[in-house]
């Protein structure tokens, strides 16, 4: 049966048409699902209006490992396979979930990318909960929180440890033993995780977020590197038995796995292969630190990418100022591609001949996703965009630490378009055009009217379009899409 994204409310309305099924109100339908046992009716009513039913055929992928997603799923029927991609195995099946189970909780809870691939094993029906609904239920329903917490740790660790390079080759039984010994730890932005000169007793593996590795040199805090998910730090002090050689600070909200020194040493004795890999990493890091001492450009690049959040982005816009002819066609193209509201401002931080214009860097852990209205969401490929739930309140403008969400005034309409619209009004004034009825009701919207028709906007890298307008419309190829690491090359 195809459900075509119907909400429970809509489904119940259809059922009511059959006289014998009149008693099936939306709330009663949800009460039949074990996941909602004991949940209060007010929350169930909200769920019935926002959660949607989905149907999948066998072999279909619900979501892929590595995609960004913020929806939660409850299995109403059928079964799914949970698999991960490892170095040895492109599809290692970790578990099969039956009807009544749930998955996808890590996305909305951590804003992290999906840690596994979910594929249907047979005809499957799912109930999809959007992020803001799931977080409301998680916060307000103790029963749901308990159910989620019970599986969170086990699922998080088993999939995450497999993704980390040094542990990916370990046998399953060793991973299970390791899961009992590690601790899940969370840090807020700017927290000091380890401090240079302190005693070191544990190794940390970054699960999500970014950390900055820095040392004090000649009274100056010098950044050595940034590490993101899948990387580890703290190994030098544990292996060599020395004091901490660097300070590690959380650049964003960071979730990490901590492994105590004794357990880690035991693991190294059991698996000498891991010891060799770690020693190779230590040598490489020491070499990088020495090279960095002489490379002023690289030091400056690290400072800029950290301070302005560029380290979080995989791709970002950069302008080559030796090619830019200041024609502003990039901004014009952005404006006319987005209903006359440009998202790009052609000014920003400068690095050599490159300028990073004010545009969204689609952070790995975006602060703007904390929007309480669900006005900002993330595409599976990681692009952050405004949704229909945005009410133009501007809270995200203040929340973005890099000033990349803007108030934008509209560009004037094309003169020819104005003329065409006037002619249309005169010719078609007696003809009423009927609008198609939408199948699903839109969420209620209280649009905050701003002075001068200004709107809150951000760059969405032209999501859904075949090309990025500012790059496509630059006559001298000055506007480019670069990896932060390529910025050094561009700046020379």
């Amino acid at each position: 049966m195809e459900f075509d994204h119907k909400t429970i409310t809509e489904f119940a309305e259809e059922l009511k048409q059959v006289p014998f099924f009149e008693e099936y109100t939306p709330v009663n339908l949800l009460k039949k699902i074990p996941f909602f046992d004991g949940v209060e009716e007010k929350l169930l009513k909200e769920t019935s209006e926002m959660a949607t039913l989905l149907s999948f055929k066998p072999g279909e992928v619900v979501f892929k490992q590595g995609d960004y997603g913020d929806t939660f799923y409850i299995m109403l029927g059928g079964s799914v396979e949970v698999s991960v991609k490892t170095r040895q195995n492109p599809r290692l099946v970790l578990a099969t979930l039956p009807a009544g189970a749930f998955f996808g909780e890590l996305g909305p809870l951590t804003d992290d990318f999906r840690s596994a691939t979910i594929t249907t094993a047979e005809n499957t029906t799912l109930l999809e909960l959007p992020r803001n609904l799931f977080l409301t239920l998680f916060k307000k329903s103790p029963q749901i929180k308990e159910r989620i917490d019970a599986v969170y740790r086990e699922r998080t660790l088993s999939t995450h440890l497999r993704r980390v390079g040094i542990f990916s080759e370990l046998p399953d039984d060793v991973i299970e033993v390791l899961m009992d010994k590690v601790k899940l730890v969370n840090f807020n932005k700017d927290d000091e995780i380890i401090k240079e000169g302190d005693d070191g007793s544990s190794l940390f593996i970054v699960r999500s977020g970014f950390v900055k590795i820095s040392v004090m040199k000649d009274g100056e805090d010098t950044t050595l590197a940034y590490l993101k998910d899948g990387n580890y730090f703290g190994e030098m002090a544990v292996i060599k038995g020395e004091k901490r050689t660097a300070t590690v600070t959380a650049m964003t909200r960071v979730s990490a796995v901590a492994l105590m020194g004794e357990d880690f040493k035991e693991l190294l004795e059991q698996f000498p292969g891991i010891r060799e890999k770690i020693e190779a990493t230590i040598k490489a890091r020491e070499k990088e630190a020495k090279e960095l001492a002489d490379d002023q450009n690289k030091k400056k690049l690290l400072k800029i990418t950290g301070e302005h959040g560029l380290v979080q982005s995989d791709n970002m816009l950069a302008m080559d100022m030796t090619l830019c002819i200041r024609c502003n066609l990039c901004i014009r193209a952005c404006a006319y591609t987005h209903d006359r509201y440009p998202r790009l401002e052609r000014w920003g931080i400068k690095f050599g001949r490159a300028v990073i214009p004010t545009s969204c860097t689609h952070c790995n852990t975006p602060d703007c996703l904390l929007c309480v209205h669900g006005g900002i969401s993330r595409d599976p490929k990681g692009e952050v965009y405004f949704t229909d739930f945005c009410i133009n309140c501007g809270a995200c403008v203040k929340r973005c630490p890099y000033g990349n969400i803007l108030y934008s005034a509209p560009y004037p309409e094309y003169t020819t378009t104005k003329i065409i619209e006037k002619v249309k009004k005169i010719l078609l004034k007696d003809i009423k055009i009927k609008e198609d009825k939408k199948k699903r009701a839109k969420p209620p919207k209280k649009f905050h009217k701003r002075e001068g028709d200004v709107r809150v906007v951000k760059c969405d890298m032209c999501l859904g379009r075949a090309f990025i307008a500012c790059i496509y419309h630059c006559p001298t190829n000055a506007m480019k899409l670069v990896d932060p690491e390529d910025l050094l090359e561009l700046a020379r």
């Binding site: 200041r326 193209a333 404006a335 006319y336 000014w347 001949r353 859904g464 090309f467 001298t476 480019k480």
Partner: protein, 242 residues
């Protein structure tokens, strides 16, 4: 494959731009005259033969395509090819049209509409070459060493903010609570005035440096329009003569 992965346009010049259009332009501009001089018999030479008219039509067609660049530039929603490809087509088809016109006229010029059309077209091409030179060599020299880059519009916005700050402080200065407050306000006003002066100098310097990037267009565009009008008039005049 997701739509985004098909987007190969990441800001690097394409092969069409680096090789395709230059090769096409040079081949047409030089190749056609060489072929004309070596291979074409005398009976077919001249602007009023069928070959001459055909070549004239090609030249006019290339001019129309080159002219379309300004239309494309004003249409960001138009999807057919990157703007930089259109610019290369504009440059190289325009240059090749000169070679074709020389051949169309059999390298002979008399005082009249046709010659004026050719002269204005060559002037348009030469001013375009000046523009290319300016676009190539001016931006690197005005990039500057500052930590941030501000457009003139942003500089003006900042100046507005500074002026608003000064106005607020002047109100405080008119009715200060005590002497210290007045002194502090006066010092801040002096500082902001210095900042305003620095911004003004920066703005003037930016405008002066960036002016050539637009100035050449005040010659190139009118001359190109005139050339186009004269070429169309010349093309229409053959119906009058024939």
């Amino acid at each position: 494959m997701p739509l985004r992965d098909l987007r190969i346009y990441q800001g690097e010049p394409s092969r069409k731009e680096i090789i395709g259009w230059p090769a096409t332009g040079i081949a047409l501009a030089l190749g056609i005259p060489v072929v004309y001089l070596i291979l074409i018999p005398e009976s077919l030479k001249g602007g009023d033969t069928w070959l001459g008219i055909l070549l004239g039509s090609y030249a006019l067609f290339f001019m129309v395509v080159a002219f379309l660049y300004s239309w494309r530039r004003a249409r960001p929603r138009f999807k057919l090819d990157k703007l930089s490809n259109w610019l290369y087509a504009h440059i190289w088809l325009g240059i090749s049209a000169i070679g074709i016109v020389l051949v169309h006229s059999d390298f002979q010029f008399e005082f009249g509409l046709a010659t004026w059309a050719f002269i204005t077209f060559v002037l348009s091409a030469l001013s375009g070459a000046v523009g290319m030179f300016i676009f190539k060599y001016l931006p690197p020299s005005i990039s500057g060493e500052s930590e941030t880059y501000l457009t003139p519009e942003e500089v003006m916005k900042e100046m507005d903010e500074v002026v608003k700050g000064i106005e607020k402080l002047l109100k405080t200065l008119k009715a200060p609570e005590d002497e210290d407050e007045a002194k502090k306000a006066a010092q801040e006003i002096a500082e902001r005035e210095r900042k305003l002066e620095a911004l003004k100098v920066h703005l003037e310097s930016e405008w002066r440096q960036q002016a050539p990037l637009e100035a050449w267009l005040y010659f190139h565009i009118p001359v190109s329009v005139l050339a186009f009008v004269l070429c169309v008039a010349h093309a229409a005049s053959i119906f009058y003569y024939h």
